[in-house]
């Protein structure tokens, strides 16, 4: 596709997503006041639940604990307009391989959510590989916290 086409597409997407946010935030703000468990921070929907799942080195499979966490989170995820899944890795190994691995981790979460009835259309997947560590240290504890998928709701 020509660059100009992409630009127009990007503009349309931006306009569309802005519009979606405006109407949706009213609806969600009302809900937040009822449940008391979630609230809006700018456009972002923040809950008191853990919004991260963690992985083993060079692995992208979800264990029972991750699945329980995601199921607890599911009602909020279903109500969100946009679900953003951000895959991350620890610093070990190569950067480009980790970029692919982070994407695979986020997709594993997406697939689980879709099986549980979340519309795939509202899920956005992005990988940052090892580029955005949560903990900037070189030890097992930091590595295990950095191998994660972060879930953001909008």
């Amino acid at each position: 596709m020509e660059p100009i086409g992409i630009f127009i597409l990007a503009m349309i997407c931006q306009v569309y997503s802005c519009a979606a946010n405006v109407s949706d935030s009213v609806e969600r703000a009302q809900y937040a006041s009822v449940s008391g468990e979630e609230y809006l921070q700018d456009d972002k929907l923040v809950t008191n639940l853990n919004d991260k799942v963690f992985f083993d080195f060079d692995k992208s499979t979800l264990d029972a604990e991750d699945k329980t966490l995601l199921e607890e989170y599911l009602p909020f995820i279903k109500r969100a307009k946009i679900v953003r899944l951000e895959g991350h890795c620890d610093e070990r190994g190569t950067r480009e391989y980790n970029l692919a691995l982070g994407e695979r981790r986020a997709l594993e979460v997406r697939d689980f959510l879709v099986i549980k009835g979340v519309s795939g259309k509202k899920i956005r997947v992005v990988s940052f590989g090892e580029e955005k560590p949560l903990k900037n240290a070189s030890n097992e504890k930091a590595w295990s916290e950095n191998r994660r998928v972060e879930i953001s709701l909008y």
């Binding site: 660059p3 992409i6 070990r92 900037n136």
Partner: protein, 427 residues
């Protein structure tokens, strides 16, 4: 008037705060000893030109710890022509090679003619002589040319003193900079600054452009930046992730990775037609492509066997061959300039180190001794590897000569440096 000069000086000096500087960590005991004799000057030329040229040549040749020098104070004489050169004066000082020369004036506009000679003291012969014409404001450039010729004569390898290095600086959690500098760390230029990560720089074969990955628009996207104009252009590959760009040796296409719906595969992108051609198609991760020097093959990382391993694919027949079997992590392979060996990141017992392997052999040789080593890049003459490693949370660059003569590091004064990419030679 003074003020204007100050401003101009500031603009040219680019980034004076975060400069790479090479520190030799371990030199070998039996390095060849070179005498860099201060060049003589013709009567009407500043004497400092002669000493500057020999000093610059010395800095270049000693840059990677491959040689040692004879201290100027120990020299018995400063010959500037063959008639004044006595082998015994250098033999008694344990010198293996002597470089002498003379600076002559051509005209009153600063044009100089520099003649130089290189002597092999043990064989008692002159092994190189030459003459370069240049301007007095470019003594460093002239010295680089002489250094390359001297290096080539002594080692039989191409001189690399006019090559450059690209790298990514991460000075704090939200500042990423795409930089280039001369190979000695001087003349740093910042090509692009972003609050989002920058990855995977790669030089075009003509050294005029750099391709890299930037997250500035929220996802991994490949940009090509022209170095003279600074203009940036996105490769509109439109995947969920677009990454790992590597220029083909002829500069006409870029091997890259696109993940359209969550499955990264290798593609070839034709720069002129702006079109993608699929090269691999596998549900596993295929990434980190790099061209063989003859352009016929591409090495890549794939986890199709269950762990990341290196494969090569013929770009025409699409036939694939697995290149690594030992260890559960062999990734980001690159070919040596002769195409017969590869170097890569080898994971073993939780340590990630730079390793090499002949294509035809199974034996993997580990080159480094730290444990978070990645992104190796090789000098165009195939003799030196620079790689990224870490000390605590601080990233720095390490280097090693493949003849085992030297180890060095290129630390950054402020911030972390990563992903070195060695430029090709100037054609």
């Amino acid at each position: 008037m003074k003020k204007i000069f100050f401003i101009i000086g500031f603009l040219i000096s680019n980034n004076v705060f975060s400069i790479l500087e090479i520190e030799i960590l371990k030199g070998s005991d039996n390095l060849s000893k070179i005498a860099f004799v201060p060049f003589g000057v013709e009567e009407n030329i500043k004497e400092v030109y002669g000493s500057k040229i020999s000093k610059y040549i010395q800095e270049n040749l000693l840059l990677f710890g491959e040689f040692e020098n004879l201290d100027k104070a120990e020299m018995l004489s400063y010959p500037s022509s063959e008639e004044d050169f006595y082998y015994r004066d250098w033999k008694v000082l344990g010198v293996d090679y002597s470089i002498i020369g003379k600076v002559n004036s051509i005209n009153s506009f600063g044009s100089l003619s520099i003649s130089y000679s290189l002597f092999n003291i043990n064989r008692r012969i002159k092994i190189l002589e030459g003459e370069i014409v240049g301007n007095e404001d470019n003594l460093k450039g002239i010295s680089k040319i002489i250094s390359n010729r001297v290096y080539e004569e002594i080692t039989g390898l191409k001189g690399i003193f006019d090559t450059k290095l690209a790298y990514v600086i991460n000075s704090n959690s939200d500042t990423y900079q795409m930089c280039i500098s001369d190979i000695d760390g001087k003349n740093e230029q910042i090509l692009f600054t972003s609050s989002a990560p920058i990855m995977s720089p790669d030089w075009s074969p003509d050294r005029k452009k750099i391709a890299y990955v930037s997250f500035e628009n929220g996802l991994a996207e490949i940009f090509i930046q022209d170095l003279s104009s600074g203009k940036r252009e996105s490769i509109q590959a439109l995947g969920m992730t677009n990454s790992a760009p590597v220029w083909s040796p002829d500069g006409k296409s870029i091997a890259l990775v696109v993940s359209f719906s969550g499955n990264p595969d290798i593609f070839l992108y034709s720069i002129r037609k702006k079109r993608l051609i699929r090269l691999t198609d596998h549900y596993g991760i295929d990434t980190e492509p790099s061209w063989s020097p003859d352009s016929k093959k591409i090495i890549f990382t794939s986890d199709r066997s269950g762990s990341p391993q290196l494969y090569e694919i013929n770009t025409q027949s699409k036939r694939k061959k697995r290149l690594t079997r030992d260890g559960n992590y062999n990734a980001r392979g690159r070919y040596f300039p002769d195409g017969k060996s590869i170097f890569f990141v080898h994971g073993n017992n939780g340590r990630f180190q730079i390793a090499t392997k002949k294509i035809t052999s199974r034996y993997i040789e580990t080159l480094t001794s730290t444990s978070l080593d990645e992104s190796p890049t090789i000098s165009p003459n195939g003799n030196i590897i620079i790689y990224a490693t870490k000390n605590g949370s601080n990233g720095y660059l390490g280097g090693i000569t493949l003849d085992g003569k030297s180890r060095f590091s290129l630390p950054l004064k402020n911030g972390s440096v990563r992903e070195p990419a060695w430029s090709p030679l100037l054609n």
